[in-house]
Structure formats: structure tokens, C-alpha cells
């Protein structure tokens, strides 16, 4: 298995393990300025850990104030995080990771869209920034673990390892965006909110005197300031070749319209196609395929979105990996907050490619997104969707 991470440490002594019962560890609490990470930091203190709050500066040009319901990346958010750290009574610093974030997350986001795929930047941020760049730096500086406000549970195993599980609050569960964390990353992670429903976290924040208690949840992509994804992509990718527009066609190849760039489309998208003519049967049309080189976007009826097989690569295993060549029964989640599908997963002999046979069809599955594999509530791992096979007619 590839190990893209470096685990530099200042001393040869192993970091104390965050999940040993009763162990006091030195924890970096990543504080976005939102309610979840503030309560997570407070709980890490209550657990007896020695906690230092940090806010990640991820934007090269942060705005002064929030616009809309976003929970990070503005000076106001950084001040909220600082104030929460004051109330909790922990030291607080800002770590500037804007360059790394731009390289590993923002550029990946642009490149993936430019390739006609649909990225998930939150997943990439967890993989490359929060539980890699931040964790590396924390370990080197003498900390043992990173705590975040993600809703997911970590459970110690008999052999001293740790398993990642869905949060008790399934409606708020964020294990999907953590499915890229490997064993080493999980051992140095703390998710203090995994057992708690969101409304209880808000009540607790209020009871602790944290003024962020009623701050709205963040939903949008943090680096797209006004939430206008399409506008942001047009500005960044509008001049990139290929991608300078093309035809919108139906499955028979008939041209239905024109578009300004394939980056504006996602598989399964219905809105914003701006096709003048309605379909002959009057039913809505959806994006079925994106071909960035020719600029062709293919649309069709909803049933043509159904897929029965997924080819995925770049697998990441949360703990014990599946064995190369093995076949396993799992459930698979194909987008954040998406449904679970029962599936049979085959890992090829190299261990690099995952073949996922869905036992019930899934709709609107975009290459670039992650397929996260579960067994019960446990996250087995994830892989990036490369291609899908339609349900044969």
C-alpha cells in the first residue's frame, strides 16, 4: 500500500496514543469558529487532555465578514474561534496553511472539474490538510493528536488499533468525508462529538457560554466565497483549454443546445441546462455524460442515470485494509449525505483498483466523487470513482 504521508517526529519516542483509556495527551484542537469544533475542544479539555486551539488560515485573501452561512475562512470566523478558546481557557494560535490548501485542495478542485469530474474538496482537505499537514506539524511540535468537531466515532479495537464508525446521530454523520483517513491518521485523531446529536451540542455550547452556539451550520464550499460554484468555476476555468464550450446533445447525438464550458456540469444535474426545446415526452433531462476534450455534454431521461457497477481507484483503508484479490460484502455511500447501497466489492490483485457491484441501482453518480465502503457502522475505506456502468437496458 502506498504511504503518501511523511511522519516526521522530533524525538524517537512514539507519540502517546489518543485512545488509550485515561491517557492524558497533548491535543491540537482545530477550531473553525463554528459551534462543533468549539464544543469538541471543550470536551477534549474535560477529558483531561492538554489542549491547544488552532485556527487554520486556508484562504490567501480572507474576507473580513461572513457572507451567508459559512463557518470558516473569514477574519470573523477566526475571531469567533479565538473567543471560544478564551472561554474554554486554552491557548490559541493561527496556523497559516493557505499555500498547502491552495495546492492540494483548490487546484485539485479545479483540475477535477476541468477533467469533467466532480470533486469533493472537504474529503481532500481532510486527507491532505487537517489530518496530514496539520497532523504532521502537530506531531513534530510535540502534540499527540488532532481533535476536530466531525460527527464520527472512533472505537478502540482489542489489538490496540482504532476503528472509524458512523456518528450516533445518523442525520449529522460525517464519516463519509473521513473515509480517506488511514490507520495512522485515525490513531492520532479525536472526534469528541461522535456520540452526540447536533441539537445537544448546541445546547451544550450555550451552557458552556460559547457565543457560537447559535451560529448557522456551514454548507457551501468554504473557498467559494459567495456560494456561487458555477460563477467561481467560470472565473477560474473559463479560459482553460479544453473547456471552452461545446454542444449539449441527447443520446442519439442530436444537438439540443450550447454551453460555455463542461466545468459547469455534474453527472445527474438537472437545473441550469438552458435547453430551449423540451424533451419530446415532456419529462426533465439530466446530465448523463461529460466529455471535456470535445466539450460534449450528453443529457437524457432520469432512468438513464441508473448505474450498477463502479470502477474506482486510489483506495484508502481506515484501519485493516481489504486483501488484494478479495471479495467482500459491504454497503457503499456515493456522496455526502447520500443513501447507502448494498454492494459486493472486489479488490484487484494489485490492490490499486476497486470494482463495486451494486445490488440495487444508484442514480447520478459522478466520477471524481468518493465511494466510501462500510460494514455495519464501521468505515472500511474509500476509493475515488473513475467510471460507472449503466444498468443494461
Amino acid at each position: 500500500m502506498r504511504s503518501p504521508l511523511r511522519w516526521g517526529r522530533a524525538s524517537s519516542a512514539p507519540a502517546r496514543r489518543a485512545h488509550d483509556r485515561g491517557a492524558v495527551v497533548k491535543v491540537v484542537a482545530a477550531m473553525s469558529g463554528g459551534v462543533d469544533s468549539a464544543v469538541a475542544a471543550a470536551r477534549a479539555v474535560d477529558a483531561g487532555h492538554e489542549v491547544t486551539g488552532i485556527h487554520l488560515a486556508l484562504s490567501r485573501n480572507p474576507k473580513s465578514y461572513r457572507s451567508g452561512a459559512r463557518g470558516c475562512c473569514t477574519i470573523e470566523d477566526s475571531n469567533d474561534a479565538r473567543r471560544a478558546a478564551d472561554v474554554i481557557g486554552i491557548p490559541f494560535y493561527i496556523w497559516d496553511l493557505s499555500d498547502r490548501f491552495h495546492e492540494d485542495v483548490v487546484e485539485d478542485f479545479m483540475d477535477t472539474y476541468a477533467a469533467g469530474r466532480t470533486p469533493n474538496p472537504c474529503l481532500r482537505c481532510n486527507e491532505k490538510i487537517k489530518f496530514a499537514a496539520v497532523l504532521d506539524r502537530a506531531l513534530a511540535l510535540g502534540f499527540d493528536a488532532v481533535a476536530t468537531g466531525h460527527y464520527a466515532r472512533l472505537e478502540p479495537t482489542a489489538d490496540g488499533g482504532v476503528e472509524l464508525h458512523r456518528a450516533a446521530d445518523h442525520g449529522k454523520d460525517q464519516s463519509y468525508v473521513l473515509g480517506v483517513l488511514d490507520d495512522r491518521q485515525l490513531r492520532h485523531s479525536l472526534f469528541p462529538l461522535g456520540d452526540t446529536p447536533k441539537d445537544e451540542v448546541r445546547r451544550e455550547a450555550a451552557a458552556r457560554g460559547l457565543l457560537v452556539a447559535d451560529k448557522p451550520d456551514s454548507h457551501d464550499i468554504c473557498f467559494v466565497a459567495d456560494g456561487d460554484n458555477a460563477g467561481w468555476l467560470r472565473e477560474k476555468l473559463g479560459d482553460r483549454v479544453p473547456n471552452q464550450g461545446g454542444a449539449i446533445v441527447d443520446e442519439a447525438g442530436e444537438v439540443l443546445g450550447e454551453h460555455e464550458g463542461t466545468y459547469g456540469f455534474t453527472i445527474g444535474q438537472r437545473k441550469g441546462l438552458r435547453i430551449g426545446r423540451p424533451a419530446p415526452d415532456g419529462r426533465p433531462r439530466y446530465v448523463l455524460g461529460i466529455e471535456p476534450v470535445s466539450g460534449t455534454v450528453t443529457v437524457g431521461p432520469h432512468e438513464r442515470l441508473a448505474i450498477e457497477r463502479i470502477h474506482a481507484d486510489q483506495p484508502r483503508w481506515c484501519g485493516t485494509p481489504l486483501a488484494p484479490g478479495s471479495v467482500s460484502e459491504v454497503t457503499v455511500q456515493l456522496r455526502a449525505h447520500g443513501d447507502e447501497h448494498r454492494a459486493v466489492v472486489r479488490l484487484d490483485d494489485t490492490g490499486d483498483h476497486v470494482d463495486i457491484e451494486l445490488l440495487d441501482p444508484a442514480y447520478g453518480i459522478a466520477p471524481g466523487q468518493a465511494a466510501v465502503l462500510y460494514q455495519g457502522s464501521r468505515v472500511v475505506g474509500s476509493a475515488t470513482i473513475d467510471a460507472t456502468d449503466r444498468v443494461s437496458a
Binding site: 516526521g8 522530533a10 506539524r137 513534530a140 510535540g142
Partner: protein, 395 residues
């Protein structure tokens, strides 16, 4: 964190109030009286303000009427550069050039940028040498290029980051040849080096309360009587009609007491700090042999503030180092300003010809009246391991 002794080495950011200032300030905290009122209580307040003004004038070599109280150094800097620019331009619209050193404090640089952006000022930032000292020939050449178009010159007395003392005498001599007014930010200089306003020949000078052992929230612009200044804050016209607002009588009293003590004890204070400075520089070099001292050499009272020690630690992020030292109770500064919440490489070090990496790897230790040998020894003990850690974090 458990019982870590605090080692405060950030006196250039703010220094604890001296007892005389606490006493002078608290003596008036509960007194009623607006210094602008005509009745007895008002007169009592007014008397405290005017006695404070006279104390400061006596200590700094100016006339009492030349002291304009403000809310602090930043306001005084803004009043000086904007006020001078507008009044000079009003007399002759050609005067739009502003010449300043490239290592000024942001309280000067940012208003100058603002004037350039919104008020059509032509801003020329003058080069410094590798120790951060203004190159006087560059100033001379810049003025001589077109003397009639220069609105003002602003050069700090001593740099807040690397402690370099600027050649104010040369600056004044060059500007005087062409009748151009000079402003100097002397916030870091008062109490550290001898400062005599009249003898220096500058036209306006910024001073601050909390940098000299006085209270926060008060400062002054010392400005020659014949200089016209356009007001920034309009209202009751309390301070010579160039600065309005009810005066903070207790703060003004504490400020004056602090200035008096700082100036009276300047020579002894500087001598004591120089010994500690030397001890700290030695300790840093022993703990981290490849650390690079920034600024002028220590031990020369004419070239560097005695309380300033500024090093680059190759291979470290200053931010990491600051955090590690903070966890051990040692408080210092990266010396760099935050731009929009994100630390930026110091414009001072960049102007001195250092690259962004070197600038980001720097720490400023600034010593003051409460600093002891034990403080220095605590740094000596902690620094080596912290630098090793910080280097690993960047590897």
C-alpha cells in the same frame, strides 16, 4: 498549562506600567471634571492635564503648547502624515510627494498607502541598508529630484522590529535645505535613547503612553507651533483645534508620570538593558549557533535600541517557535504584522534584503524595565530544544 513562570520579553509591544504612572493615574480615576468645563471641577481636571503637558514638554525638550494629546501612537501617526499632507497641499497643490523609509511602522505606512490610493499622494518608500538603516543619500536624491513637490518626510526614530536607530539628524538636515517638514515616529525611542524634540529639528514627533510604562490608550503628537495641521477628528476642538475629544485626565496624568520617569532614568535604564541584551545575544548564539542576528550590531548605543534582540532561526517557522516558547512561559513576538489575520513576512526584513523564508523564521525578544537575568537564562535553557522541534515541524 500548569505553573509556568511567565518570562515577558515583548516590551516593544507593550511594557508594564511603572509605579509612578499607576499612582498618578489612580489618583485621578474617581475625580469628576471635564477639562473643558469652566467650573471648579473642570478647572481641577484642566490643571492636571496642563501640568501633565508641561511635564512631558520638560522631559522631551518641547514647549507645552506643542504637545497634542491623542488616543495613542497610531492616531498621532495618522494625524501627522495626513494632517501635514493636507495642509501642505492646501497651500500649494503641487506638493503631493511623501517620502518615507521602507521600514516604517504600519501606523505610518498604512495611512500613507491610503493617501496614495484616495488622495492622489505620490508615495516614495526609501531604501534601507542591510541593517535596516535609511540611506540618507537616497532621501537627498529623492528630494532634489523635485523639491517643490514634496509634502513631507516621515522617518521613524528607531525601528520597532529590529531596533535600528535611524539617522534623524541627517534626515532633518537634508529636508531643511528644501524647507520640507519632517515627522518622526519616536514611540520606541523614548526612554531608550536620548530624545530632545527642539534639538532634533523635527517638526512633528509621535509618542505613546504604553510603550514607556504609562497607560494604554493615550499618546501624543508633539508638533512645532508654526506647523499647520489639518484636523482628522472634529468636535470640541480640545487640542489646539487639531484634535477633538474629551481628554482622558487620569490617562494623561499617568502618561506624563511615565514619560518623566522614562526620560530621567534613560541613561541607567539603557545601560542595564545593554548588559541584558548582550547576555541574551550570547545565549541565543550558544543555543543555536546558526541563528542570524538581524539589525545593527548590539553594543552600539547610537545604532540599536538596547532592549531589542532580533534573530532569524534558519529552518524554523517563527510562528512554531513562538508557540513552543509560549508553552514554556516565554513570551516574545514574530515581529511580523498580521495581514487579514494571516501572518505575513515582515516588510522590515524584506526591505533589509532578507528573503521571505528568513523573514518568516524570525523572532523578536524585547527587553524592558522588569527584565531580569533570570529571564534571559530561561530563554537560554528553552531555546535550543524549541528550535529543534520547530525545525522538525517544518522538515
Amino acid at each position: 498549562m500548569n505553573d509556568v513562570r511567565t518570562v515577558y520579553l515583548d516590551h516593544a509591544a507593550t511594557t508594564p506600567m511603572v509605579p509612578a504612572a499607576v499612582e498618578a493615574m489612580t489618583a485621578h480615576l474617581a475625580d469628576v471634571g471635564n477639562a473643558s468645563s469652566l467650573h471648579a471641577s473642570g478647572r481641577r481636571a484642566r490643571r492636571v492635564v496642563e501640568e501633565s503637558r508641561e511635564t512631558i514638554a520638560q522631559a522631551l525638550g518641547c514647549r507645552p503648547g506643542e504637545v497634542v494629546f491623542t488616543s495613542g501612537g497610531t492616531e498621532a501617526d495618522n494625524l501627522a502624515v495626513k494632517g501635514l499632507y493636507w495642509s501642505r497641499r492646501a497651500v500649494d497643490p503641487v506638493r503631493r510627494r511623501i517620502l518615507a523609509s521602507s521600514v516604517e511602522h504600519h501606523a505610518v505606512l498604512d495611512p500613507l498607502d491610503w493617501l496614495a490610493e484616495h488622495e492622489d499622494a505620490g508615495l516614495e518608500l526609501l531604501p534601507v541598508d542591510d541593517q535596516g538603516r535609511l540611506v540618507p543619500d537616497a532621501l537627498a536624491a529623492s528630494i532634489a529630484h523635485d523639491p517643490g513637490s514634496v509634502a513631507l518626510v516621515s522617518v521613524m526614530w528607531a525601528n520597532n522590529e529590529v531596533g535600528t536607530i535611524q539617522p534623524i539628524g541627517d534626515v532633518v538636515a537634508i529636508a531643511a535645505e528644501h524647507g520640507v517638514p519632517v515627522h518622526t515616529d519616536a514611540v520606541q525611542a523614548i526612554g531608550a535613547v536620548p530624545v530632545d524634540f527642539a534639538a532634533s529639528g523635527v517638526d512633528a514627533m509621535t509618542i505613546s503612553g504604553h510603550k514607556v510604562g504609562g497607560p494604554l490608550g493615550v499618546g501624543a503628537l508633539v508638533v512645532r507651533r508654526e506647523i499647520e495641521l489639518t484636523a482628522l477628528v472634529h468636535g470640541g476642538g480640545q487640542e489646539r483645534d487639531v484634535r477633538s475629544g474629551t481628554l482622558d485626565v487620569p490617562a494623561v496624568a499617568g502618561f506624563a508620570a511615565a514619560v518623566e520617569v522614562a526620560v530621567k532614568e534613560q541613561a541607567d535604564h539603557a545601560a542595564r538593558l545593554a548588559v541584558l541584551q548582550h547576555r541574551l545575544v550570547d545565549a541565543v548564539r550558544r543555543a543555536v549557533p546558526d541563528a542570524v542576528l538581524n539589525g545593527a550590531s548590539t553594543g552600539s548605543a547610537d545604532e540599536r535600541l538596547p532592549g531589542n534582540v532580533h534573530f532569524s532561526f534558519p529552518g524554523c517557522e517563527g510562528d512554531s517557535l513562538l508557540m513552543l516558547l509560549d508553552a514554556r512561559g516565554i513570551e516574545c513576538s514574530t515581529g511580523s504584522a498580521c495581514s487579514a489575520g494571516v501572518p505575513q513576512p515582515s516588510h522590515v526584513l524584506l526591505a533589509m534584503g532578507r528573503d521571505a523564508d528568513a523573514a518568516r523564521s524570525s523572532l523578536r525578544f524585547s527587553l524592558g524595565h522588569t527584565t531580569t537575568e533570570a529571564d534571559i537564562d530561561a530563554v537560554a535553557a528553552a531555546l535550543g530544544p524549541c528550535v529543534e522541534r520547530a525545525r522538525a515541524a517544518r522538515a
